[in-house]
Symmetry: C2
Subunit: 331 residues, 2 copies
Amino acid sequence: MINIILIGFGAVGQGVAELLYRKKSEIERLIGKYRVVAVCDSKGSVIDENGLRIPDVIERKKKGAFDGKKSIEVIETLDYDLMIEVTTTDVHSGEPGLTHIRQALERGVNVVTSNKGPLVVAFSELNRMAEKKGLRLMYEATAGGAMPLIKLAKNDLAGNEILFIKGVLNGTCNYILSRMEKERMTYSQVLVEAQELNIAEADPTYDVEGIDAAAKLVILANSLMEMDSCFRDVEIRGITEITPEAFEVASTRNYTIRLIAEANREKRILKVSPRLVPFHHPLAIRGTMNAALIKTDLAGDVVVMGRGAGKYETASAIISDMVEIYRKRYE
Amino acid sequence: MINIILIGFGAVGQGVAELLYRKKSEIERLIGKYRVVAVCDSKGSVIDENGLRIPDVIERKKKGAFDGKKSIEVIETLDYDLMIEVTTTDVHSGEPGLTHIRQALERGVNVVTSNKGPLVVAFSELNRMAEKKGLRLMYEATAGGAMPLIKLAKNDLAGNEILFIKGVLNGTCNYILSRMEKERMTYSQVLVEAQELNIAEADPTYDVEGIDAAAKLVILANSLMEMDSCFRDVEIRGITEITPEAFEVASTRNYTIRLIAEANREKRILKVSPRLVPFHHPLAIRGTMNAALIKTDLAGDVVVMGRGAGKYETASAIISDMVEIYRKRYE
């Protein structure tokens, strides 16, 4: 029996809980029996060491925040095997996820997270800690959401050296740029539209200034190219100064503009910036989709595209990490 | 120590052997010690139970076919853990790969193959046999070469239901169609060009009539969507009758034409045929690249693109399968 605690119960946390409930038989066929023994939000928790009934937990959440033990108490005192950490990202302090993950690893349990903060701030510390204790720390959902990228590069391309990665890693920026390309609207006009559609947040800084893409890039560079980088190593330029005229000029040469995140180990490039992309290039992808081009020594160019965000999409990446850890072995 | 026998020593077999030699330290870091104890071609074999020196084997092959024991004798008598089967595909009989794989599984060893034939002819028989004996039968290289697809769908998208797959699965056809699109040349003109560039074979039937794409589709449908299909279930139309005028008409509506393989379980579709594809669609990919769109219930649309063929590309997929089987566990 795999005992799970779920730390964070916003959209992603609720998505994970729903899938663990709704897809229980399919997932248990892959990994064996599991149950969720605690769910925590920023205020408190609900706990049942015999397994919570998820619909009841969601119902209770609808009535307001949880009371009961705080997350950190649950992490430090309960008996469990896996922590799913899906609290909100702070790329500067890494908190509260950083403390959660440190404590869980300290206690000897596996961790799956969608939280970029802890990995951007303390990538090697956390990974060394997990490795030393023979634990798994998995984070597919941190970079690209439902777009397969980290396990793809590590497993499906095993034996390959990753020479560079170039990606469209922020769906909000890509939506804005796609609309500017198509409608020749200004940045501000499209931003308002994106905010109305809930594609951009009220304070869009984190996305449009390239911070989110840079955080993802640090995680990819460290996990797939051993670049041992941190957030301040990334050269960042956002999309706020791009004009409709820039698209006009680009299009006369069959180019468009996209916010491209690039990590290149040999050239020591770690950069997020708007770049010209040929119309027919896979990174000229439109809408809120993410895309990544992985250049390898053996397989050549591999491109992947997928939904970079969303409740069930992110939850799907978390489930795939959980399956990777606990999948029944054939040997 | 993992003892490997390599059955088939054409381009792909030699590619695999070279990588097992050249990348030995990288691969052993992932899976532990291995050695190649036998290499067979259609005429005979070279054997050393203490491990062959690959450059010597390649040197010897250059001087002509091997003599010594036949493949089947090696498979049935040698002491080994893994068979890598890379003989040529026959989608109707499945031979000689089918007998090789049956015998290897019978003897209780794991199998990695790039050979579509055995899987098209006897997918469930071979997979049931492997499962019953607790063995692994891996075949990433059969569908899409270096384009990650089978492990991606099974592992990276674990927990998802695959609703349908649409793919450009034959690089030769895609090259021909891309050139017809761009240059408005006739099918026959581009075929000659493709043959000169060694992109099409002297007898191009297998590719241009859609047979290769259909074989791949059967493997994808069976392994990822449990469709339990066989070759004759696929409705197949090739690309030989497409005219430059068809591209002309399509382009006025911003479409191009591609050979699309589609498997849809619910609609019971298994089809390879030329189809209209919007210019900006990921399946409007150009050149010899392969692409696949995987529609899932949770992750939404996932697209992947990569090199569908080539000596090292195919070998890369085989190595990734081998790593998947033997990767050191963290638990």
